[in-house]
């Protein structure tokens, strides 16, 4: 359908159509600009930036996205994120190892799906248990999965060391094991996941999730399928986390190690979405950036200010205390997260443009 001036539809929405810059367009434009910038980074950045900063940033954003779908949209808080990430990592590892015919993207997706199914089982608890009781019970999944992968050698192919090396990464004969290859693999995955997540939260599924989040009893009364909605949220969320876990193992660490998916990881992801903004897509990237850059920043500050003056252990304690204090300060100053700040910034820009 062409949008000419005689089109009756256009007459009904003249204000929106004539505005050069709307909120939606501003958001989409900045997202596109960010993607182009990120895709161009390998041309200028050195390996340190790709390996130690951008890859973990992108993967943690993806994990945040996964948990945000569950917690920010469907309202089911979980501390099993690290566990679901480890399922994704081990499942992808075993697929790559035992079914080498499968191309990498398929193994990655299937690994994510296995994590999704495990998440679904853990999600069965949410049908009966709510609130902090649910948070505490998802810890059962976290600790059980951590134990499982350490206990039984089959998962790590009876490797003698506790960490196992990642198989070769390639798509259609292109080797992705260099920093740039791993970075682009991560970026592509995260970009696709973001589009899927945006479509999902704007679909009926997303609206069901939000109804459950806002008040599940009321949602049930008006006939919204609460149980299937919750389970779907657990499945999709764990799938995202599983893919992120596989990327964490293969694209970032280069090894599958159950210890890197411990409870601290789960807390980190929860921090990301709370600092970034619950129920916001863009918040995940802002929160992940905060969580990745802050420790690096504190490292540099510490190294410059106290170089040699105090020992490493003390410096670590100091950073820990400062990190905690910053988190509290941030929660007090902006309880709705960085996404709310970004939204205010967007409004500020829009207000300065002529209509």
């Amino acid at each position: 359908m062409s949008l000419t001036s005689s089109d009756p539809v256009a007459d009904f929405a003249p204000a929106r159509a004539s505005r050069l810059l709307s909120r939606g367009r501003l958001g989409a434009a900045s997202a596109l600009a960010a993607l182009v910038l990120l895709a161009g980074v390998p041309l200028v950045a050195n390996d340190y930036w790709l390996n130690a900063v951008l890859i973990p940033f992108l993967i943690m954003s993806l994990t945040g996205l996964g948990l945000n779908l569950l917690m920010g949209y469907a309202g089911q808080a979980s501390l099993g994120t690290g566990g679901f990430m480890s399922v994704g990592a081990y499942a992808t590892y075993n697929l790559l190892l035992r079914v080498p015919e499968l191309p990498l993207p398929v193994s990655l997706l299937l690994g994510g799906a296995v994590a999704g199914l495990v998440g679904l089982v853990a999600g069965l608890l949410s049908l009966r248990i709510k609130g902090f009781y649910l948070v505490a019970s998802t810890l059962a999944a976290q600790f059980f999965l951590e134990w499982l992968f350490n206990q039984y050698g089959w998962f790590s192919n009876y490797s003698t060391s506790s960490s196992i090396s990642a198989p070769r990464l390639e798509i259609l004969g292109h080797d992705l094991s260099g920093p740039t290859g791993r970075y682009l693999l991560t970026l592509t995955t995260v970009a696709i996941a973001t589009v899927v997540a945006i479509r999902l939260v704007r679909s009926q599924t997303g609206r069901v999730w939000m109804a459950i989040r806002d008040m599940d009893t009321a949602a049930a009364v008006i006939g919204i399928p609460v149980a299937s909605g919750k389970l779907k949220a657990f499945f999709v969320s764990s799938l995202f986390c599983g893919v992120a876990g596989a990327l964490w193992a293969f694209a970032y660490l280069g090894t599958v190690d159950a210890r890197s998916f411990n409870l601290d990881r789960s807390f980190e992801v929860m921090f990301i979405i709370i600092l970034g903004g619950m129920g916001s897509i863009v918040g995940n990237y802002l929160g992940a950036a905060f969580m990745i850059f802050l420790p690096i920043f504190l490292d540099h500050v510490g190294a410059h200010l106290f170089a040699g003056a105090i020992d490493a252990g003390q410096l670590e304690n100091f950073q820990k205390a400062l990190f905690g204090a910053l988190i509290i300060w941030f929660l007090i100053k902006e309880p709705n997260g960085l996404a709310a700040l970004a939204s205010r910034l967007g409004n500020w820009i829009l207000a300065r443009f002529p209509r």
Partner: protein, 293 residues
């Protein structure tokens, strides 16, 4: 059979140690709806202060008193700096804030008092007592006695004092409590102060059992299943939950662990807690909220 009973009794008594930490959680959750993850750090902090004072040859009771005073000051600071600005925020935000708080407390305690392991001797002789044909650890008996005494003191405090009644009013309906002139902020300070006292007791007992060190903060993870089995709002629940978790944990370690070929203690308590929750979603003694639309 006597081995079974010995394991069971040992487990029950060990469980009481978890209850001690869980009680601190319950106090704060009941009065302010805050799921205080910093409880473990408070236990560490109290134990560290106490042991540092003791190493400077300060009298036992004086050291305990000074530690208590510092814990109460900490409680007041937490209320003023962290809780008051976050009033009316979602519970999960407050939970995250207490996580941040735990980093701060752990970091600062270790900066000031060092990260090395300290020995803590409370002067309790730990020779096993022979009861019939089973052996019971004397130390565990003392710990259980302390927990029992704590529960009695707290019950008296909550049921018979003005402050206690006001706290129950707040727990029941904060809005109504505020409207009849109960001072919420004062009570939060009181309750965090009492939680500080409970952490001191827990810190002393845990510290003398496994040394005062960073690992002390991990007892918080062990006490969470205790908490969810008993229910977040019941002190009795914390004790009963502790007994269940302690007994279940030590029996599972022996029998289930042998079956699966490894230690199951990292997750068994949680699995047990989930089973209880599936039957009673708000714990054994927790209040199940009535949902209105």
């Amino acid at each position: 059979m006597s081995f079974f009973i010995e394991t069971l009794v040992g487990g029950l008594l060990a469980g009481v140690m978890y209850s001690l930490v869980a009680i601190g959680f319950v106090l704060i959750f009941k009065a302010s709806g805050v799921f205080n993850f910093a409880q473990g750090s408070m236990v560490l902090c109290a134990a560290l202060i106490f042991v540092t004072l003791r190493e400077k040859n300060i009298d036992f009771w004086l050291a305990a008193l000074v530690t208590l005073a510092i814990m109460i000051a900490l409680a007041i600071a937490i209320e003023r700096i962290v809780l008051r600005p976050l009033i009316n925020q979602p519970q999960i935000t407050l939970f995250m804030a207490t996580l941040g708080l735990s980093f701060v407390i752990e970091g600062i305690s270790q900066i000031v008092m060092g990260a090395s392991v300290h020995e803590l001797d409370l002067g309790i002789v730990d020779t096993p007592i022979q009861l019939g044909d089973i052996q019971v650890s004397q130390f565990d008996l003392v710990a259980a006695g302390a927990a029992g005494a704590l529960v009695v003191i707290l019950s008296i405090f909550f049921n018979w004092t003005r402050v206690g009644v006001a706290l129950r009013a707040i727990a029941d309906d904060p809005q109504a409590a505020l409207s009849i002139g109960i001072r919420l902020q004062t009570l939060w300070r009181v309750v965090w102060g009492v939680a500080g006292f409970v952490s001191l007791v827990a810190g002393l007992l845990w510290g003398s059992r496994q040394g005062v060190q960073f690992a002390l903060t991990l007892v918080v993870l062990k006490s969470l299943p205790v908490l969810i089995i008993g229910g977040f709002t019941s002190i009795t629940g914390a004790i009963v939950g502790g007994l269940i978790v302690g007994a279940g944990d030590s029996l599972a370690e022996i029998y289930l662990g042998a079956l699966l070929g490894g230690s199951v203690s990292s997750w068994f308590a949680y699995a047990l807690a989930v089973v209880f929750l599936l039957v009673r979603p708000a714990g054994l003694f927790g209040e199940r909220p009535i949902e209105r639309i």
